[in-house]
């Protein structure tokens, strides 16, 4: 029965999320208003660990508005869903691409480049993409760490003991993260990224020069405001920032064994090979 109720709540949440693509209902929620004029109950307070630091533990889903299909605001493109746009800096919501990287990004959205998205091969999504793939994350806080367990069967461990980053010549899919508390905000500094990841399925670009600073600020017992600032001088003309909420829900991680039956990969390869055959230079 608990599962049935959880399912019902989940579907209602999904329906609400879909209907509330327009900003109005969200704004109404923020004002604490319900239909009929009743005040909504106040959100639960921030949870805390025994040492007084915020307790972020829980199962979260990002309210990313389709960031996995584009960080900028964009309409649907065939079967690629629309994106609400999560870039808050620059203020115009556009990523400050270097010209070469913008050209690369445009090409990556074409069908014959789908094969090149590392996640199509079941590689991990990297940072910050792991947060906003449409798949949940479980956060746990063992002493001295914050650990993120992603349902797509990968993880990030973030030590909080002030250690230095690993040597620059070690490069990793999820990078090397170290964290610290600034008041109630968990600040996570990530370097040593390998430059092989895409930022989403349409191929927003991240080079090996990228450094990512994430800020996770709990605003209630059930919500974290998530920001990531990316500094990448190879692909961008200036740093940029995305923002979204992570909503805590009553659920648990399940298994996504991506290699089990990844039949799409062959189809993507076929599309790519067909394109290459047609465009072969004599």
């Amino acid at each position: 029965m608990i599962r049935a109720n959880a399912l019902l709540v989940g579907v209602l949440l999904a329906a609400t999320a879909m209907v509330s693509f327009a900003p109005l209902p969200v704004a109404a929620q923020q004002r604490g208003q319900r239909r009929g004029g009743q005040a909504a109950p106040p959100p639960p307070p921030i949870r805390r660990m025994p040492d007084g630091k915020p307790d972020l533990t829980g199962w979260y889903q990002a309210d990313a508005g389709g960031a996995n299909y584009g960080l900028e605001n964009k309409p649907a493109n065939g079967l690629i869903p629309p994106s609400r746009g999560v870039v808050v800096d620059p203020p115009d919501g556009k990523l400050p691409y270097q010209p070469w990287a913008r050209a690369e990004r445009i090409e990556r959205e074409l069908p014959h480049r789908g094969y090149d998205d590392p996640t199509a091969h079941c590689f991990v999504a990297g940072v910050p993409r792991s947060i906003y793939t449409p798949s949940p994350v479980q956060i746990i806080q063992p002493a001295g760490y914050v650990v993120m367990l992603f349902e797509r069967m990968n993880w990030r461990q973030i030590p909080l003991d002030g250690r230095a980053h690993i040597p620059d010549d070690v490069r990793l899919w999820q990078g090397d993260s170290v964290g610290r508390w600034e008041g109630d905000t968990l600040v996570v500094d990530t370097r040593n990224l390998n430059g092989k990841t895409w930022l989403n399925e349409v191929g927003d670009v991240l080079s090996h020069d990228a450094k990512v600073v994430e800020r996770l600020t709990p605003v209630s017992g059930n919500r974290i405001t998530y920001e990531a600032t990316v500094t990448d001088t190879i692909a961008y003309t200036r740093p940029w920032t995305i923002r979204m909420n992570l909503d805590r829900q009553d659920d648990e991680l399940l298994e996504v064994a991506c290699h089990e039956d990844n039949g799409d990969l062959q189809h993507l390869k076929d599309v790519r090979d067909e394109y290459r055959a047609k465009n072969k230079k004599e």
């Binding site: 999904a14 999320a17 996995n68 649907a76 065939g78 079967l79 869903p81 399940l254 996504v256």
Partner: protein, 138 residues
């Protein structure tokens, strides 16, 4: 299925229908490359196999054509865990179950489709699509 589950199923069906109407474009890059939005399909057939697999689960149904010829269609859905969260249950999807499915056919014209929903004979409709950006799971 208990009465309560049936009621929940009907509600889920209505909501899934609302979701499907609200967002016709619910798939991702590989689907865009593989399936054709200009080839919508609506098929009724008997389930022959449900493959609960990752990263995408598959349903196979026998569809009887106008000439009586039976074609086995392969229907791609979301990941197994997403289906579970959307109310899909193994016990409801046994071989022989009659389903109405809606989706888009493969570009290559084969009897393969990416589907957005399944509807049981009792009218219960479940969302099947992948990567719905507004839904809470993939």
């Amino acid at each position: 299925m208990s009465k309560r589950m049936k009621k929940i199923g009907i509600l889920v069906g209505f909501l899934a229908a609302a979701l499907a109407v609200a967002s016709p474009a619910i798939a991702h890059h590989s689907f865009a490359a593989e399936f054709d939005t200009n080839k919508p399909v609506k098929l009724t057939g008997k389930l022959t196999l449900m493959k609960w697999a990752n990263p995408h689960a598959w349903i196979y149904i026998d569809v009887v054509g106008p000439n009586g010829k039976v074609t086995n269609w392969a229907l791609e859905t979301s990941a197994a865990n997403s289906l579970l969260r959307r109310g899909w249950r193994k016990e409801d999807l046994k071989a022989g179950t009659v389903l109405l499915v809606e989706g888009w056919q493969a570009r290559n014209g084969s009897p393969t489709a990416n589907i957005t929903s399944i509807t049981f004979e009792n009218g219960t409709r479940l969302f099947a699509g992948s990567s719905n950006p507004a839904a809470r799971e993939q």
